[in-house]
């Protein structure tokens, strides 16, 4: 509790700093380091405070999610300010009730999870299948229209999905693919293929072409060289790219909402949670359990692959 009080005295010396700065011309040889020292001291106090505050802000909502998912609604209403679960209040029923199928009085999240998993895994496989050759081509081969195609893909990345939502909604309604996971999967592939090509291309660019040339001299065709030389070398990038796609597809909301809303048995976890959170019949703590089930796989995946993933995410940043 003493911590919040510390910055207050520290602010006053800083306010005095400009005065010293003004007077530092002639006699300031001894005084100049004092501004430096003051700033350093202020920052030494501020820095940990800022780090802790940001960390709490970033992590606390997820902690709160897990805590709430183990409490009963009545205990939350009684004591909404509690920051932890008392052991005697620990309630696992929320998870059972959110996972059970609707016919058994649950919310059917097990089915939602299966749907999400199918769509996300399918998107990863399909998107990688089309984007690995594409990225290879953009990186290595010189063909007519290469620049334009790259530009097109980049433009797709920035395209507002709400603008795309209108025609796709109409189109899928007309051909009767609304309510099918396959339709959703195709849309996801189109959304991620561009980013995926961009990320993979950057990695292919770092693999020396001489390796493939050596293989060509040894009698490999180009496709053989690609499969046996470049692909294994690009594995780290491909894995991190796959995880990235998985997260996007697992988290996606708008298109799932547009395409699947009328078919409860096809809902993804995101859609299910958003639809049920509006109703009064389902207790918030039960939905919090569903929310934890939606978030935990992503967080686990993220921490397991964080090093790979962050490298991939910033690959674009270092270019400019």
């Amino acid at each position: 509790m003493t911590a919040p009080a510390t910055p207050t005295p520290a602010v006053a010396p800083e306010a005095a700093a400009p005065e010293q700065a003004r007077g530092r011309r002639a006699p300031a040889v001894r005084r100049r380091p004092s501004r430096d020292a003051i700033e350093n001291r202020v920052l030494a106090v501020l820095r940990p405070l800022i780090i802790v505050a940001l960390l709490v802000a970033a992590v606390f909502p997820f902690y709160y999610m897990v805590v709430l998912s183990f409490r009963s609604l009545s205990s939350v209403v009684q004591d909404p300010g509690a920051l932890w679960v008392r052991p005697e209040d620990m309630d696992w029923n929320t998870y059972a009730s959110v996972l059970k199928p609707v016919s058994e009085g649950g919310q059917g999240f097990l089915v939602f999870m299966r749907n999400s998993l199918l769509v996300a895994a399918g998107t990863v496989v399909l998107a990688l299948l089309v984007s690995i050759p594409g990225a290879y081509a953009v990186s290595r081969l010189n063909f007519f229209g290469r620049r334009q195609i790259s530009a097109l893909f980049l433009a797709v990345y920035f395209f507002p999905s709400i603008l795309l939502a209108v025609p796709l909604f109409v189109f899928f309604t007309r051909i009767g693919l609304r309510g099918s996971l396959v339709g959703l999967l195709i849309v996801y592939v189109s959304q991620v293929a561009a980013v995926s090509i961009y990320m993979l291309r950057n990695y292919f660019d770092t693999i020396p072409a001489s390796l493939e040339e050596a293989a060509a001299i040894d009698g490999c065709t180009r496709l053989q060289a690609m499969r046996k030389i470049s692909l294994p070398l690009a594995m780290p990038a491909i894995v991190s790219n796959g995880l990235f796609i998985f997260m996007i597809a697992w988290n996606e909301f708008l298109f799932a909402l547009l395409f699947l809303i009328e078919r409860r048995d096809r809902w993804t976890v995101s859609l299910g949670l958003s639809q049920l959170s509006g109703s009064i019949e389902v207790p918030t703590t039960v939905l919090m359990a569903g929310s934890a089930l939606l978030t935990v796989p992503i967080i686990v995946l993220f921490f397991a692959s964080e090093r790979l993933l962050v490298g991939g995410l910033t690959a674009g940043a270092e270019k400019g």
Partner: protein, 337 residues
Amino acid sequence: MSQVAHGTAQASKTPAPSRGRRFGRARRSLRGREEARTGFLLISPTLIVVVVVVVLPILWTVSLAFQDVRLLNLRETGVIGNYELDNFVNVLTSPDFLRALGTTVVYATFGTAAAITIGLIAALALRAPFRGRGAIRAAMLLPYVAPVVAATFVWSTMLNPQFGLVNAWGTDVFGWDEPIAFLSSQSDTISLLGWPITIPTALVTVIAFEAWRSFPFAFLFLTARLQAIPGTLDEAARVDGATPTQRFRYIVLPQLLPTIAVLSVLRFIWTFNNFDDIYLLTGGGAGTGVVSVRVFDYLTARGDIGAAAALALVLALVLGLLVGLYLRLFGRSEEGA
């Protein structure tokens, strides 16, 4: 050693230019044709998917925007139809349009600025290494990687006036007179040092959410850029007696500005079009009705596809204009400097 090698390479290249070049060209054209064919073959699956699922639908949006299409008469409309401007007239003259556009601009501007500012502070605070920094950096990215539906659900539960944690603490510990309906109150009057100030509560809350959710993105890119700044610059400034704030102002910030500029454009584009966050937090009510949520309403609630397409096009055009304007201004200032 490398210099020598370089020299010999150049020497061997210069004597016989004509023969080498002609031979090279002939080979290149043969190989080049094969290369072009393979290249096109490899890129075509992606190209087909993108053209069919992205490019054609967007062209179709343009067509839809000029026709009277409703969900009910959808089956009768084709590419050739009655083209008219009614949708645009309706959408643009609707009394709420300007307010929605204004809300969108405010939301995108403040959301972007807040996210980048917090991201910058975070990147600077975590610049110097210490034990556990890697884990903290990873944890900072959680808001960005977590599913948006889960994040909005936790926020709306935390901010709930009946059993939310924030209001419980606010009334018990900080002495608020009554719980604040963060997500459903259009505006509240608070007194700051005796002055009554009216703030748009729900709009501020969704902006705060946007800042929370996307600061990790700015943090990630700024951290990467910070790591690329040579340490010698900082050291030299330190030897010259520059204080930490001076070093930030004159050494670090100029190096970060290009990255900040790019981030501003990216974040602005995404926030401007953002649908998920606001739809999930407030449903577009309480003064947070941004344009993208209106597009969704036209599309689903009213079933007016033509109007939805027209409004979506207007949104994209306004965004293009704003970004173009920004790039123009920024490009010019870059030239001047």
